[in-house]
Amino acid sequence: MHEAAIAKGILDAVLAAAASGAAGERRITRVNVAAGALAGIVGESLDVFWCELCRGTVADGAVLSLKVLPAMLVCRRCGDRREHRPGMTVELECASCGGPNRLEGGRELYVESMEVEDADSGQKSRSGPQ
């Protein structure tokens, strides 16, 4: 359950990007996050913290889109490569040749990009009823 800290890190990253001027003051509608298969992120849990933390900011209501990057189970003998996704068993032996496997990658955790509303819709949104 480290999703509270993860949600805070995501919010800090997008607010910093928004403040840097690229987005102006437009509302953030979607945040695209990439997480490796071994990063241990539970999407539903992350959503709960995200919805609470982003309230009252320019990211209020933004959809958090989590893309899971697989780790790779690689055979040390024959080089066979298979995707390893969250919840899968780390198989010790290669499915092709029976050689010893090795798990690689899967530790990534970064905010890839964010989507902001177009300038026109932003003006409508701000002038409309709350």
Binding site: A17, A23, V90, L109
Partner: protein, 221 residues
């Protein structure tokens, strides 16, 4: 409009960890981040290691627990300088909390070896760099031989792995060969030290020797 961000989610903690590393270096303190499940024997191992450190190297301990000061009392009773962090529910230590705890400890006279006992958890502590030099992960025999395969992330980042409570081999179901195969599937460089920390203590000297020879910054950063 799509705007690229490309920023590490834990960038703030990573920056604080880098500051910690400088602080520790300036204080002539090397740091071991001790991670394991609850009850694997983190405190027992730290106490056993502290007894065997060479002269001139002062042991220090930061105890991380969700609640209580039970472990801190054990460490203090052994005459070791110790500070408690209670996370009140958080499942891991972060770099900021470690810095505040470290700054509350008295300065070391010569050189120090700080053991940070992380929260008992095999998932969350793996994500949070504390500015440590060495990441030590403990598995204990009663937990079973499958832990490296069930919690690959934390075993993958370990600089050294301790198999504790080896006196229980034969009393519980545990296949030492299978355990090592599991470790090697996720980490092919960390040495494995078989130890027993209670009763007839075994294996501690070899681990102390390794810590003395490998006190520099973790290779996994």
């Amino acid at each position: 409009m799509l705007i690229p961000v490309r920023k590490a989610v834990l960038a703030h903690n990573d920056a604080e960890a880098a500051e910690n590393a400088k602080l520790f270096e300036g204080c002539r303190v090397r740091v071991v981040n001790v991670m394991a499940s609850p009850g694997a024997g983190k405190t027992s191992l730290i106490l056993a290691l502290a007894k065997c450190l060479p002269a001139g190297l002062q042991p220090l301990v930061i105890e991380g627990d969700v609640a209580s000061s039970i472990d801190t009392e054990k460490v203090a009773a052994a005459g070791i300088t110790v500070c408690q962090i209670n996370t009140d529910g958080d499942c891991h230590l972060d770099a900021g909390s470690v810095r505040r705890a470290f700054e509350s400890l008295p300065a070391v006279q010569e050189h120090g070896l700080l053991f940070i006992e992380n929260i008992g958890n095999l998932i969350c502590p793996a994500e949070f760099d504390l500015g440590e030099d060495i990441r030590l992960v403990i598995a204990s025999v009663p937990e079973g031989d499958d832990k490296p395969r069930k919690y690959p992330a934390i075993f993958a980042l370990a600089d050294a792995i301790v198999l504790n409570k080896t006196d229980l081999v034969g009393h519980v179901e545990f296949d030492r060969t299978r355990f090592e195969a599991g470790v090697r599937a996720v980490n092919d460089r960390a040495p494995i030290f078989d130890v027993t920390c209670r009763g007839a203590v075994t294996g501690i000297e070899a681990l102390v020797d390794w810590l003395m020879a490998n006190r520099e910054k973790s290779q996994t950063q």
